[in-house]
């Protein structure tokens, strides 16, 4: 597998997803309101109301679950991006020190003798 991370694109996707989830939350709230209204309209028909509440409440909870699950995914992406933008200096420093260590001759003439010309 090839490794790659395009930070600005990941940020764009994360923010787009965040907005989509906010919109979903609004729609879930609207759904909750509509379910409550119908449940109230069924107030005097208790058996039907109880059955309706069972069906509808589970679906409203599922719509909220989509938001919660999505936000967990957004949080995971956010952590990846934040670690990229904050850890990059450390990585650069480490890479630079490794570079300095390896910049010397890999083939040590004091140990192995002079490289044949």
């Amino acid at each position: 597998m090839s490794y790659s991370l395009q930070p600005d694109e990941v940020i764009g996707i994360t923010d787009r997803l965040r907005r989509a989830l906010n919109e979903t939350l609004d729609r879930s709230d609207a759904l909750r309101g509509a379910v409550d209204a119908l449940s109230t309209a069924l107030a005097r028909v208790t058996p039907a109301r109880a059955a309706f509440d069972d069906v509808a409440d589970a679906r409203v909870a599922l719509s909220r679950g989509i938001v919660s699950h999505g936000r967990a995914a957004v949080a995971a992406l956010r952590a990846i991006v934040v670690s990229y933008v904050t850890a990059d200096d450390e990585m650069a420093t480490t890479a630079a020190s490794l570079d300095a260590l390896t910049r010397g001759p890999v083939f040590d003439p004091s140990r192995f003798g002079a490289r044949p010309s």
């Binding site: 597998m1 790659s4 991370l5 395009q6 930070p7 600005d8 694109e9 990941v10 940020i11 996707i13 994360t14 923010d15 787009r16 997803l17 965040r18 989509a20 989830l21 906010n22 919109e23 979903t24 939350l25 729609r27 609207a30 759904l31 309101g33 509509a34 379910v35 209204a37 119908l38 109230t40 309209a41 058996p47 039907a48 109880a50 059955a51 309706f52 069972d54 069906v55 509808a56 589970a58 679906r59 909870a61 599922l62 719509s63 909220r64 679950g65 989509i66 938001v67 919660s68 699950h69 999505g70 936000r71 995914a73 992406l77 956010r78 990846i80 991006v81 934040v82 933008v85 200096d89």
Partner: protein, 575 residues
Amino acid sequence: MSIDVAAIPVAPADSEELRRCARELRQASAPLRLSAENILFSWGMLPEVYRAPESVDLQDAMTLVGPAAVEILTGLQLACAAVETLADELDAVTRERTALVARIESRCLPGLRALPVADDPLSRQLAADARDDAEAGFRRECAALVDRWDAAVDACAARLRAIPDVPWTLSSTLRADEHDPIAESTSILDAAALPLLARLADHDGAAATRLLAAHPEWVAVLRRARPETIARWWNSLTPTTAAALTATIPAVIGNLDGVAIAARIAANRSRVTARIEELRRQRLEAQLTADPLTARFRSPSAQADSRLRAIDAEIAYFEAVQDGRKQLYAWDPDHGSLIEMSGDPAQATAALFVVPGTNTRAESFFGDESISRFADWQTSTAHGSVVSFTVMTGPMPQLVDIPTGGGPQFSTQALQRAPEYAHFVQGVGAAQPDLWMMSYEHSYAGAVGSAAEAYGGIVDARFLAATVGAVGPYTPVPETRYFAAQAPDDINRYYAGLRLADLGFDVPPESFPGVRIVDSGLPGLNPRNLIIGGPAEIVGDSIDHHNALMSDDERINGKVLNSVSSLLTTKGKTT
């Protein structure tokens, strides 16, 4: 139980109310499908930009969202159907009740009298028995009503109970978090950009050039940050650091929405020297090509002359920027953006954003017939109270692209420019919050301004000059005032209000709720052309009248020029 209408039982629920609530529930549940598609579409782009072993789990994280949306929709639609059936059955029983009421009422009509009963024990007994029978019948009918209503309710409950439970895989995986904040989540855009901005500003910006050379991808991350965040960061810098960043990374500072306007102008001004040198080199090469001795071997001299004229116009433009006659607020040739400013933002109380439409290119800003003339006229007329911007945030549609599948008939580029334009508007607002802001959108740019509102590109007033309008569904912003003007025979009128997918625009500007129509003062169809000129003349006039709304010639476009000027002076109160 006496025979009385008041004793007849009533339906246990209001069937009309049930139907209304069921209809609203259907309407409320349908958009969740769109939400799920939006989530999945966004998430589907992730594998393209993030590939690593640990990313696979993340990429698979949303696979259940689609089935969950279907489950929600299906379950609630079935529930609504059950409730609507209940409403129908309640109505059927209610009709029987109505018939019963009518029968009872007909027995009690004032004109009717009961037959006299003979005053003997047998007759009294017979009358009492008849009354008891009638009352028993009445009780049975009332009980039957109740039984049928109960049966309808039980049937509804049974239908609801028959709806399958939400599958366990969905309910256990997509579990609502009790601690999930109700408020909107915070944006990642700032969280990603702020650490990078802090690092660029470290040690008075000493490492900024090196860091951006090592990480060119940072620029795109920075540009995604919200302009108000950039403005706060910029205002927190010491003058030394701000000056150092302006000098060392001018291409970033000159295009970063939210940075102080004066700093952006200075940054972009410092960049044009290199461009002028590059253009002069290109001119030398073009001169060789245009040389009469070599031209016959290389390219037609007319073409080479045209190239030379284009280079000269561009050199003249950037020399004007260099010596301060023109001000560049944004300039990113790689992306295709160029925003010119005229006026002094430090003195201005209002800002005008002139957004030209179809056929706008960087070259439109060069030469004597610059696209910025409308904005310049407004700045000059306002005597310092207005700062104007001529805005091209990225590539605009070109008529020459129509044969290759592009062109202004598609809304695609409007939707691409919309977030950029919103960022620009927010950037000016963040850098100078006290400015009253108005946009003047011409032609295709009206669709950019309309779509930008959804991204927060909100201005105090929008003037829609012969624009295509918007892609529907469109809802105007309550705090924005809308004005529209066009010639009666404007070329856009032939197809305004028509759309099929991304072809066309279905909301013409005159149909925006609350829009105020401004007289353009332009003539309509010339009747002579119906007889002599023909279709070519008719269309030619329509295009001329369309383009006239970008003119700074008061003889051609005086009414609109002065209307916009008046709006800017009075902050939208009069045209």
